[in-house]
């Protein structure tokens, strides 16, 4: 199995390995994720009904209210947090939220390259996939 590597920018450090949950559609955080179950609620979103818990969550960027940072914190406190977050462009909702909730996060990634990956490994700001 040949694994490939992409280097990104570390927003919050941390290494991990796990299954991917991938979307090319921006994600609504506040009001868009059930904080007690980790399930994506946003009506009509391709990931509606999926659970973010212990996944490496890959999406272009967040949208909606800046209270979303506190949503990430609540998800983490309820043990429903993703293992890590990978963004194309990290904006303040995610940047602030991952520092508060201590979730590893990388951005400046061409996420389309990860579209067909099942499993990712994050190490020192590098993403390994096959």
């Amino acid at each position: 199995m040949n694994s490939k590597v992409i280097a990104g920018r570390i927003i919050h450090p941390g290494n991990c390995k796990g299954p991917i949950l991938y979307t090319e559609v921006p994600l609504l955080i506040y009001g868009g994720i059930d904080v007690s179950t980790g399930i994506i609620l946003e009506e009509g979103h391709p990931l509606q009904g999926e659970c973010i818990q212990d996944k490496i969550l890959v999406f272009p960027r967040a949208k909606g209210s800046t209270v979303g940072s506190y949503t990430l914190l609540q998800v983490k406190a309820n043990h429903q947090a993703p293992m890590a977050i990978i963004n194309e462009h990290c904006e303040p909702i995610i940047a602030t939220g991952v520092i508060m909730a201590r979730i590893p996060c990388i951005d400046e990634i061409d996420i389309k390259r990860l579209k067909h990956a099942n499993q990712l490994e994050i190490k020192e700001g590098n993403i390994m996939y096959c």
Partner: protein, 410 residues
């Protein structure tokens, strides 16, 4: 990014773990936006206060900062919370929600933040001067500070504004820089915009059309651009769009100081020939039905606004509940002046909260009328609530009649 010795020492934790966490957030935001350095701020306005939106995890976070020795290093005020701290019981809020909310406020107090609980800090002594750098959350206050006062802030989230308060710094990017404050689109208003309702409707329209552009608006009568109508315009634009700064020709300070900025925006322009009419703001299903609540004060009402609404409603019997939201500091002054006496018991001048941040599902308000474009926008998205946006005078008549009539165009 270039950090000074003090900033670096905060980041390394030499000022305690609470300050380190806050500095980490500030520096990360700076990295994301490629800021060259951090700049000192003269004041902060923090959102993320209602227990409903930040939850137990949010409370734990605030307590972690406090236990980590963090405290506000610049004058800092607080956004509205989830209930009226004096009148919560009679207004129908639950004991458990009060307990949770009070703990959040206690944590903010221990971080040396003033418990103003209002979205209009500039009416309460936190009034930045033109050109000063600040870090404010609360989109309507951001819009007012940037546009009407000429201070400089990005549209901060709650934790980012809090981090600026706890370090005294923000990252130098976006609206802190001259070149990013110039208008990007010219708006020609070619219809009459005179009343509070007109400014609310214009704001909702422009926010929807312009997203996060910086408009320079021409064609408004400077006489009609009062602090009150501009507050409503900015709040509505920031709700339906993401406008953090606007200019009004012959009115707002920066476009007056740099009139050639308007030329810069000449390439992109839009024309407003008419404002959206009543059917866009009143659902048919509401007509003829009893109204539960008439809400004023989004953003929080000034002393003058409360006085003017009450001068109409005084000695009147009302059918619907009436809430006029303001800051507790101003409410205390009103009480002293005696303007809150002689009111029907259904009329409440409330403070510390508003209809947008309180847990409306705990109260039994199904049909709400308001004069605020911002409140209309947010309530329209709440399940189980019908809302209408109408002129202030009409709102007061509806309070007295208790129902919404056919009403023609207004």
């Amino acid at each position: 990014m270039n950090l000074t010795g003090l900033q670096e020492s905060m980041l390394q934790g030499e000022q305690g773990p609470g300050t380190r966490l806050a500095m980490k957030i500030i520096v990360t935001l700076g990295r994301i936006y490629h800021a060259e350095n951090l700049i000192p701020v003269s004041s902060c306005q923090v959102s993320g206060v209602s227990y409903k939106s930040i939850g137990k995890a949010g409370l734990d976070f605030l307590e972690e900062l406090r236990d980590g020795g963090a405290h506000a290093r610049v004058p800092t005020t607080l956004n509205p919370c989830g209930l009226d701290l004096e009148r919560w019981l009679s207004l129908g809020f639950s004991q458990s929600f009060y307990r949770d909310q009070a703990q959040v406020l206690q944590a903010y107090r221990e971080l040396d933040i003033s418990l103003t609980c209002s979205c209009t800090p500039y009416l309460l002594g936190n009034c930045p001067v033109q050109g000063s750098h600040i870090a404010w959350a609360e989109s309507s206050a951001v819009s007012y500070a940037n546009s009407v006062l000429g201070a400089r802030t990005n549209r901060e989230g709650g934790p980012a504004a809090l981090s600026a308060a706890l370090t005294g710094y923000t990252a130098n990017y976006g609206l802190h820089l001259d070149e990013n404050r110039k208008p990007t689109v010219k708006v020609h208003v070619e219809c009459e915009v005179a009343t509070y309702w007109d400014f609310a409707r214009l704001g909702l329209l422009l926010g929807r059309k312009l997203g996060n552009e910086i408009p320079v608006i021409t064609g408004l009568s400077p006489r009609k651009c009062t602090p009150s109508t501009l507050r409503q315009l900015g709040a509505s634009m920031a709700a339906s769009g993401a406008i953090a700064l606007y200019h009004v020709e012959d009115v707002t300070p920066e476009i007056t100081a740099f009139p050639n900025w308007a030329i810069h925006a000449g390439e992109k322009e839009i024309h407003v020939n008419s404002l959206p009419s009543r059917p866009e703001f009143v659902k048919d299903t509401m007509v003829g039905k009893p109204v539960d609540l008439v809400f004023f004060g989004c953003p929080h009402s000034s002393m003058e606004e409360v006085e003017s609404i009450l001068s109409f409603l005084k000695e009147q019997q009302v059918q619907a509940s009436v809430w006029i939201a303001t800051a507790s500091m101003l409410r205390a002054e009103m009480e002293k002046k005696g303007i809150l006496t002689g009111l029907d018991s259904k009329i409440q001048v409330i403070s510390d909260t508003c209809i947008v941040v309180c847990p409306i599902e705990e109260l039994s308000f199904k049909r709400v009328i308001t004069d605020s474009g911002k409140a209309f926008y947010y309530l329209s998205n709440k399940p189980g609530v019908d809302v209408a946006l109408l002129p202030r005078k009409k709102c007061m008549e509806i309070a007295i009649n208790g129902k919404l009539d056919e009403g023609g165009n207004t």
